[in-house]
Structures are given as structure tokens and as C-alpha cells.
Amino acid sequence: MDTGAAQAIEARGLSKRFDAVPAVDGISFTVRRGELFGFLGPNGAGKTTTINLLTGLARPDAGTIGINGVDCSTDPKAAQHLIGVVPDESNLYPELTGFENLCFCGALYGMRKNERRARAGELLGVFGLADAADRKFAGYSRGMKRRLAIAAGIIHEPPILFLDEPTTGIDVAGARQIRRLIADLHESGTTVFLTTHYIEEAERLCDRVAFIVAGRIVGIDTVERFIQPERDRHVMQVSCLNVPDGTLRELAEGFPDSRFQDLSGGVIRVEADSAVPVGSLVRFLEERGAEVTEARRMRPSLEDVFVRITGIEAAALRREKEKKGGGA
């Protein structure tokens, strides 16, 4: 069903409360056709609630949702033809094989037997699961389960795909494989709505990102435009041994144009609006008895933007995802 709408997803004034607590608080955004859109935020920020609202698993208290021009808030079933959803937990059927799971998911979208069998076979090949096609889903590794869940999400070739934390809890190699699959889907023209804890993942994959904190969008732009102001700042990290007490205060007095932050473990972060004078900084530290082991310029990243905009330390975000079982 192609309605010819310019926007793949259009949310206007979307709100959702659970009891008295606002989970999503009047958010508005659009996702263009063919775009890979990242939705970033800490746990409990409202990412999954937003996905549930957009996919028809929850009803908004206020606001409207357009999916390729179809009003999802009044007719979610019509919009569900146009979307594929990969939830944050692999919720396929443990008692069915990989092939049977894909065929069953195809049937849910009304695909005929031959059509869904052919598509399931094709996807198992693309996702590197052909050898495990006849194995029960219960016996799959976490990474395999996640890949099959993505395959199930696109069995009916939806123009829009929702991915909720696709690499959380997956090992490094598995996560890399999944990121490659997402990039391929994006390249083939699928609109992808991606929520993730991994800011570097969003930076690598997404065209545009939105930051959501406590149910509100606090920033939305292209990755490039978000990072540009960071490029004007100069950031270094200096690693030292035996840093005497009071060094940070002395540094601030000795280099008034720079800002210093103790990152613990002998790592000092230096931030300035012009180039950091590395030589004099190292000499300054060594004169006070510190042994400088490394000094490197930090590339500006989306993580810096996230920290600046949300006020949430990226380390805190990482701790959250580790708690959730992350490893990517």
C-alpha cells in the first residue's frame, strides 16, 4: 500500500501516560522515506513506548501518528501492513524451527505458502542462518535469535522497519554482523527506525537522530550537524601516573583558557576553544611529578553531543546497557 506520502513516519504531539506518570510527553518528529532514523535515550526515557505507539501496540492519549500517510492512531491495522517490528527481546516461537518461524510470520501477513517458503529460504541465506534452518529456535544462540527476529520483521518486505535495541546483549562479532544487515536494509531503500543504547552505533548507522529524555525529545538533527559544533572544540585526554593532589586546580590556574576534568584512573580530560598546547601541558604535569604515559586528541563524537544535550554521562548509559546484558 503506497499512499505517496512524503514522510514514512509522522508523529505529532504524541503523549502517553501510565497512571499519572508521563512515559511520552507531547513528542513530534518525522522520519523521511528511506531514512535511517536513530532514537536515543537512557532506560525509561520512552523509547519502547514510542515504538509501541507507532506500531499499534499502544494507544496514544493525545496526538496523531502517520505511517506512510495512513493514520495509525485511528486505524492501526491498516498501518501494520506497512511495518515490520523487531522487538528488544527475540519473541519468536521456541518450539518451531528457524524456517517454520519465518513461514509462520509470513502467514500472519497473508503470504501464500509458496511465496513465504521461498522468501524464508532467501532470508535464511541472507542472514547466514541457512545451516540452522531446521533447528529449533530455542537452540539458537543470542545473535542467531536476533538475526532471525530481524528476518521475521522483514519477511513481508515492509517499507518501514522498527528495530528496538537490535544489538543489546549480542557479542561484538554478532553485533557487527547485525549492523551490517541494518546498513544493507537501509541501502535497499527500507526506512529504518532504530532505538539503541549504543550512541556510537547510531553515529555509525543513522542519517538523523533524536534524543529522548524523560519522555521528551531534547534534540533532533542529522548526525553531521549535531557533531559540527563539537568539531570547533578541542578535546584531549592525558593519561598520567602518580598525579599529585591539587594538580587539577593548578592546571586550571596555569591554563585559564582550558577546562580540565578528572576522569579517574589518572586520566585528565582537557577541553579548549583553541588548540591545546600539548608540549607545555605535558611539561607542566611532569614538573609536578606526574608521569605522562599518553596524550591524544579526541575525535568529536555523538556521545559528546548526547552528554552535552541530555546532561547524562555516557558512562552511566553504558552501565545501564551492561546491566541489560549488553556486550556490543
Partner: protein, 245 residues
């Protein structure tokens, strides 16, 4: 057409994943067998007493077969979040829930005929009005299944589903005229009997097997159908309210 493909495949998956599993087949056979033997021995009469207890045993077999299976399987899928996959599919909720309940209806109906098969070897069933008995059993299976659905929507845990099911099932054994005629119940309990769908199903089966229905058969059928519709609509309403938040 697309809706029917989804309907058929959901039903097929459930039958394969749940109802045709060896433990359920043995439950479906052993449970009615045990009830039949128990009531037959308890009656202390000969094989000629079988038609008198047959409607009750059939009713219990359907009631326990459908309510336990459906409420447990739906709660199980809801807890494992695989039910979300069904809610995300572009099929109307009515079709989805009919697909989920059809397996239990077939299972319950099959359960009901296990005691009939046993009875056929022991006594003469030539007087049974099959044209009444068969649709009556199907309607009892439908109403019991929808009762199971109603329970499944009301609870979160599998053990809660079992407990809540028993809250309905055990009183129904005694209040619906399966083994104790309604006119032998204490007067204050009788109104309760008439708000339970199985009362009308049991009356239909008494009419079909023993030609001893208390109410006109069309009224039994109509009220039973009304219960089916009411329970299904109430369940759908609760699903929309509780599962599509």
C-alpha cells in the same frame, strides 16, 4: 483471503504446538476416562446407568479441556511476548482471537466424545439425538473456551490462570445440573445456576441423551449462543483495554 491465511496458520501452529503434544493427548483421553469410571463406580448401578451420567461426564471433559488449555497457552504466549507478534500482525483482533480459540474448541469437542466412544461399547446409545448433542457439545466447547479466554485476559501468570479457572470450574460441576438436578439444589443457589452457561449446555445434553431437558431446547441453544457472544465480546474489550495499552 489474507485474514484466512493468518487464521488457518495460527490454528495449525497451536494444534501442532499445544494440542497434539503427547501430554495433552493423554490428558484428553485419560481425564474423561477417569471421570467416566469414577461416576460409574460411584453410581453402583449397571451399565444401563451410563446414559444418565454421560451428559455430566461429557460436560466436565469439555469444561476442563478447553478452559485449562486456552487460558494457559494464551498466558504463556503473553508472558513470553510471542503474543505481541500476533497483535502486531495486520489481522483484525476478532479473527486473531477466533484463531487462538479454535484449537481449544476442537480439543474440547474431541474430549467430549471420548466418554461417548467408551459408552458406545458398554451400552445402547441408539436413543441419543445426535443432531442435538453434537451442536450442543460444540456450543459448550465454544462457551467454555471463551470463558478460558476471559480468564486468560484477566491474569498475568500461568499459575494464576489455573487458579482462576478452578474458581469457575469446580462450582460449575455442582451448580449446572451435570450430576445434581437443579431442583435438588438449595433454593438460594438456583439463581446462580442460571447465570452459568454450562447449565444450558447440560440441559441440552440431558435432552439429547435422556430426553429429559427442563427448558425448551431452542431456549437452551439461544441462551448458550448468547453467553458465547457475550464472553467473546467481553474478552475482546478486555484485550483492547489491557493488552493494547
Amino acid at each position: 483471503m489474507k485474514g484466512w491465511i493468518a487464521f488457518w496458520n495460527i490454528l495449525l501452529k497451536d494444534v501442532r504446538s499445544y494440542y497434539l503434544k503427547p501430554p495433552n493427548i493423554s490428558w484428553g483421553l485419560l481425564f474423561p476416562l477417569a471421570w467416566t469410571a469414577m461416576f460409574f463406580i460411584r453410581s453402583g448401578l449397571g451399565f444401563e446407568s451410563i446414559p444418565a451420567i454421560l451428559p455430566g461426564v461429557m460436560g466436565i471433559s469439555v469444561l476442563f479441556g478447553t478452559t485449562s488449555m486456552l487460558s494457559v497457552t494464551v498466558t504463556f504466549e503473553k508472558k513470553g511476548r510471542s503474543f505481541e507478534r500476533l497483535l502486531l500482525a495486520p489481522i483484525p483482533l476478532e479473527v486473531l482471537m477466533l484463531a487462538k480459540t479454535s484449537g481449544a474448541i476442537l480439543f474440547g469437542t474431541a474430549n467430549a466424545f471420548v466418554p461417548v466412544v467408551i459408552a458406545a461399547f458398554l451400552t445402547d446409545l441408539s436413543g441419543v439425538d445426535w443432531a442435538i448433542l453434537t451442536p450442543a457439545v460444540v456450543l459448550i466447547a465454544v462457551s467454555s473456551t471463551f470463558l478460558g479466554l476471559f480468564i486468560a485476559v484477566a491474569v498475568k501468570e500461568v499459575f494464576e490462570a489455573q487458579t482462576f479457572s478452578n474458581f469457575f470450574r469446580f462450582p460449575m460441576i455442582f451448580l449446572c445440573g451435570l450430576f445434581i438436578p437443579l431442583d435438588r439444589l438449595p433454593v438460594f443457589l438456583r439463581p446462580l445456576s442460571y447465570v452459568l452457561p454450562l447449565t444450558y449446555g447440560a440441559d441440552l445434553m440431558q435432552g439429547a441423551v435422556n430426553h429429559a431437558a427442563r427448558l425448551p431446547l431452542f431456549l437452551d441453544f439461544a441462551l448458550l449462543a448468547l453467553f458465547c457472544l457475550g464472553l467473546f465480546l467481553a474478552s475482546l474489550r478486555n484485550i483492547r483495554r489491557k493488552w493494547i495499552l
